[in-house]
């Protein structure tokens, strides 16, 4: 009988205690951040969308090798000896045309492994997180500033330059041949 009454009393008491807490919370101000109107400032080390400062990029491919998901695709064309490509901000001489530098943000896992190995720190994470799309294809960002035909042009004249070098090498080899057998 005592157990019976203790149960009833315990049930009523704990219900009242619980209700007291929720009532207290009814009057405490809400902690909600009203997102679209109030945007909280994010800490500076935040990891959201990647940004590549393409004119600092020397096309060394370190970031795409470090990426576990291999979502960075880089294509470079060797510059002809005569061409001058300017220097990066910290004074490194650029030797490669970066014809294609795509990051597929649908694949990226935002782990920041690509930011550390970059010699010129041209790839870093910004705090932009609002870039959802209706179509998956435009989640692939193209950072290289060479347009299609420029890239094709660069590749074309590099092949041409390559062919000339072959021809010269073949020619010098032939000359050496003529010299020593004769």
């Amino acid at each position: 009988m005592k157990e019976y009454l203790k149960n009833t009393w315990q049930a009523l008491y704990t219900v009242i205690v619980g209700m007291k807490i929720t009532l207290k919370h009814l009057f405490t101000p809400a902690v909600t951040i009203q997102y679209p109107d109030v945007k909280t400032p994010l800490p500076e080390r935040v990891r959201n969308r990647l940004y590549v400062n393409i004119d600092d990029c020397i096309g060394c491919d370190q970031c795409s090798r470090a990426c576990p998901v291999s979502c960075i695709t880089i294509e470079t064309v060797k510059a002809l000896p005569g061409e001058d490509l300017g220097t990066t901000s910290n004074g490194k001489k650029k030797a490669l045309w970066v014809t294609k530098f795509d990051i597929d943000f649908a694949k990226c896992c935002y782990c920041q492994l690509c930011v550390f190995p970059c010699p010129t720190e041209c790839i870093y994470m910004t705090d932009v997180y609002e870039f959802s799309e209706y179509d998956r294809r435009n989640l692939v960002y193209h950072f290289s500033n060479l347009t299609e035909e420029e890239a094709a042009g660069k590749k074309a004249n590099f092949e041409k330059f390559q062919a000339e070098k072959e021809a010269q090498k073949a020619a010098t080899a032939k000359q050496k041949e003529d010299k020593n057998p004769s």
């Binding site: 219900v15 205690v17 619980g18 919370h25 080390r45 576990p68």
Partner: protein
Amino acid sequence: MALKTETMILNMGPQHPSTHGVLRLELELEGELIVDVKPHIGYLHRCFEKHAEAMTYPQVIPYTDRMDYLASMYNNFGYVLAVEKLLGIEVPERVEYIRVIMGELQRIASHLVAIGTYGLDIGAFTPFLYCFRDREKILNLFEITCGARLLYNYMWVGGLSHDIHPDFVRLTKDFIKEFRPTIKELNDLLSYNKIFIERTANIGILPLATAINYGVTGPSLRGSGLAFDLRKEEPYSIYDRFDFDVPVGQGLMGTVGDCWDRYYVRVLEMEQSLRIIEQAIDKIPDGDVHSAIPRRIKPPVGTVYQRVENPRGELGYFIISDGSTNPFRVKVRAPSFVNLEVLGELCKGHLVADVIAILGSIDIVLGEVDR
């Protein structure tokens, strides 16, 4: 002539509000009584071990994050300790202290989710939201240090990715001061509530012998009365420098090893983690966290098995290296995978509502079960 009754197969399918993710429970019911429970897993198998073989050692760390996504800091911790044991490198004191603090903060965050979803399973909505509100404070702490909220890739082999933020220490101290009263409030609202006790006491009793035979570890094992905590049993990193006690289920509200004990051990463990953080936060020595990170990681040929005390139990990494930059084989002993086996044993003879209570008390994460 006895009336022939037929058991009903009820599928608590991969989409169910309280299976903590994508787990299918095949219940054989006699009316509402459970005859047999067969869990079907594999709905979230993301082939972690295949990825581990194809990546270099540092690249595997983002994948260890995604296994137990509620305690990803601790997954890194386990993997990183294993590789350091293989390489045999020493880690500076500062890194050790920061790792312990981050690990214990992650344990509190993970227990908060476990307690919140357990309240949700029993039917109380409000504790879930209070727990998530407190958890946001911890996520802010993580975000100012390494920039991510949930999957950090913070602990690297031999060091850390970022040093802690200048006002990390002050914010952690504020958090500890604010968090203690909320544990007491949570206890009044949920733990000592008569209906909650009625729903969880004497339900799903796990005797100690079956627990050990089934390999159950973590709060589920400690709920059954055995003080087996790897931080005390086999102290890794610098856990032996802190004094904290290991809470054990004493059967306050029913027999030892029932759902209420497993739940209450988690609440007490949060208290102990606070104590550890308090002791560690003041004694962080200064130094460089990037000093011991090797340029290229090529460990010698060999095997290592390193286990750590994940908030859900004993998380073990078994790494076989063949001398190249990619691990030859990484096998993960996930605590939730092992704890889930005992569900069939615990649920016999209970009601449908109890299966949800028992599943909630074992606290599994499907990312870790299916790897």
